[in-house]
């Protein structure tokens, strides 16, 4: 059982450009991702949206392995700024975990 933390997303979301919630959960982004990692990118942002911070941090490596190539974005039917969202998340981790 994972406890949903609605506030987490507010911490990650530094600006309006973060729009992971616009996702309609069709799965196209993950299916086209050249990295072929199941978490990337859709389910990673599910964790963020549900506020499962622990799960997010467990997957730091995956988050940094995103190529930012925007293949997902070119295919996204909901205009989710996936690459930008990834950067927001990295920025959060840089501060919170790496204390950069």
């Amino acid at each position: 059982m994972a406890l949903v933390n609605p506030g987490f997303v507010d911490a990650v979301k530094q600006s309006e450009a973060f729009n992971a919630s616009a996702c309609m959960n069709c799965g196209v982004c993950s299916a086209v991702c050249p990295m072929g990692i199941e978490l990337l990118p859709r389910k990673l942002f599910r964790y963020v949206l549900l506020g499962l911070e622990e799960k997010v941090l467990e997957n730091t490596e995956t988050i940094y392995s995103c190529l930012l190539c925007k293949m997902c974005e070119a295919n996204c039917p909901a205009r989710v700024h996936i690459a930008e969202n990834v950067r927001f998340l990295r920025s959060y981790i840089n501060k919170k975990v790496f204390k950069l």
């Binding site: 050249p34 990295m35 730091t60 490596e61 940094y64 392995s65 190529l67 930012l68 190539c69 925007k70 293949m71 974005e73 070119a74 295919n75 990834v86 950067r87 927001f88 998340l89 990295r90 920025s91 959060y92 981790i93 840089n94 975990v97 790496f98 950069l100």
Partner: protein, 318 residues
């Protein structure tokens, strides 16, 4: 054991902060390509290399070392490295490419300058005052470091009274054209890729290249900056038969390069997958991004002939 992500980012960020480049190289190395071209220092319009082409050989050399690190005890060294790096520039030790390689890449910049001259563009160059754009730290989400750096870069442009910037690679184009405006107030530079400038100027070919090439679009050009037709127009006008691989244009497949600095092995696997697609279509492959170029080159294994687009264009148009 993976590379300690945070420390690597730290080293890169520190470098940018202290040495103005993620991978500092000497001013001499960075500007030597322009020798003999007699480009004016600064101008209203400048050719801005963003250091990318100059960095390629170093990146290549460094990632060779790093691929070894990825799964070894050396990984721990990186942790320590960040501390050391503050005093001694360790990344410079890690990476020293052979001279011939540096010359090859410098040649590409010369090509671009010649093409612009041929198209009648009046432009200058900032020489050792030119700074790296910060693309890598931007990608890694180190926004505060980037913002400070961007201010520095913009300051240099202002110092020289630059209004128009001609870029040579997609990453720098993206940073200067689309990212900086979101970071800096009053940012007013007009940024164009040299490919766009050449098409705008209706450059006329002198020689016909009867050749078949497969085109590998850069993700950043294709999906960030919508530079899709220019490269095709220039090649087709030169008589080149442009073949499209599986995944092309807007749906081009990443070369894996962006993973290079943190996950060299992953980067290599992506590059191999892409090379497989490219070689199905043609033996000659054209790239337009130094990162794609270097990353695919490593996976090419002699099965395809890679060339930067400027090498083709200079043959046809100059």
């Amino acid at each position: 054991m993976p590379l300690p992500t945070g420390d690597t980012i730290g080293i890169l960020a520190d470098n940018l902060r202290m040495r103005n480049s993620v991978l500092p190289i000497s001013a001499k190395s960075a500007t030597s390509w322009a020798r003999g071209l007699h480009l004016p220092r600064g101008a209203k319009t400048v050719l801005y290399t963003g250091m990318m082409y100059q960095l390629i050989p170093y990146i290549a050399a460094m990632s060779k070392a790093q691929a070894g690190i990825e799964d070894s005890f050396l990984a721990n060294f990186v942790k320590l490295g960040r501390q050391v790096n503050k005093v001694i520039n360790i990344s410079a030790f890690m990476a020293m490419p052979p001279k011939s390689m540096r010359e090859t890449y410098n040649r590409l910049l010369v090509n671009i300058a010649l093409l612009l001259q041929r198209a009648g563009v009046q432009f200058g160059y900032l020489y050792e005052d030119e700074l790296y754009s910060g693309a890598l730290v931007y990608d890694l989400g180190a926004d505060d470091v980037l913002k400070a750096h961007a201010r520095k870069v913009y300051g240099t442009f202002q110092k020289y009274g630059v209004k128009n910037v001609i870029t040579v690679d997609p990453h720098t184009t993206n940073m200067l054209r689309s990212v900086y405006p979101t970071l800096l107030d009053g940012y007013d530079l007009n940024v164009k890729s040299y490919l766009e400038v050449l098409v705008e100027r209706n450059i006329e070919p002198k020689n016909r290249l009867d050749r078949e090439v497969v085109i590998h679009d850069s993700c950043v050009y294709a999906r960030y900056e919508n530079v899709l037709n220019e490269q095709r127009t220039l090649l087709k006008n030169a008589g080149v038969t442009v073949k499209e691989p599986a995944y092309s244009g807007k749906f081009t497949l990443c070369c894996g390069g962006p993973a290079e600095s943190l996950y060299p092995k992953k980067a290599r696997a992506r590059a191999e997958a892409r090379v497989k697609q490219l070689k199905e279509v043609a033996r000659n492959c054209v790239t337009m991004c130094p990162i794609c170029y270097v990353n695919l080159q490593k996976a090419a294994g002699g099965e395809i002939e890679l060339a930067d687009i400027s090498s083709y264009l200079v043959q046809a148009y100059c």
